[in-house]
Subunit: 113 residues, 2 copies
């Protein structure tokens, strides 16, 4: 199984890292954020390269399961897309409707919660 650095995994990690154990978080951070190699992580943490690989595999599987169950990434992206399209229409055609503008702003802010 190839676990090369991918945007998808980093995205999942950014959303769900708080659900990982400290150890899982540490391995993921070293590999995907700090960009260390498996061998370098193994040496630094005094474990085998295979142990690092297994740990990262399991964590990636957990992250995918979290998204499968909670859909946070998918929802966040849809909110961004809808907010952006809605904002364009409202600013172009209904910019005098304060109430509508206020609601568009509220949608844009949901992802900051």
């Amino acid at each position: 199984m190839d676990i090369k650095r991918t945007n998808e995994i980093v995205l999942l990690y950014n959303f769900y890292h708080s659900l990982l154990t400290k150890k899982q978080d540490q391995y993921m951070n070293l590999y995907y954020v700090e960009d260390f190699s498996l061998a370098e992580i193994a040496e630094q943490l005094q474990v085998s390269r295979q142990a690092v690989l297994d740990n990262i595999h399991r964590t990636v599987a957990s992250l995918k399961r979290f998204e499968n169950e909670l859909s946070l990434v998918k929802k966040t992206q849809e909110i961004d897309n809808v907010a952006s399209e809605l904002s364009q229409i409202v600013l172009k055609h209904y910019s005098n409707d304060k109430e509508l503008l206020r609601l568009v702003q509220r949608i844009s802010k949901i992802n900051e919660m």
Copy 2:
């Protein structure tokens, strides 16, 4: 600490139950959904009443931590509120704007993802 049945906990449980272990899920379901007493759960699972209580306390703390980290409940409620207010305004004043109606529908559907 009083852990009586509360709407807030049931709501958190509904959102995050997939992140619990099988055992945690079982205890929570018996107590908050099936409405068994601590003593009844203890008898059924052959553990002490205190063990049941401790387990549920820890699980409730986990559920609160999940919401604190991920804000899924808060975001879902805000999406519902904004979708509802937006829908009223658009149907009342801009019901001839198909594009706007389509976007309102997309917002309403985010929580079904």
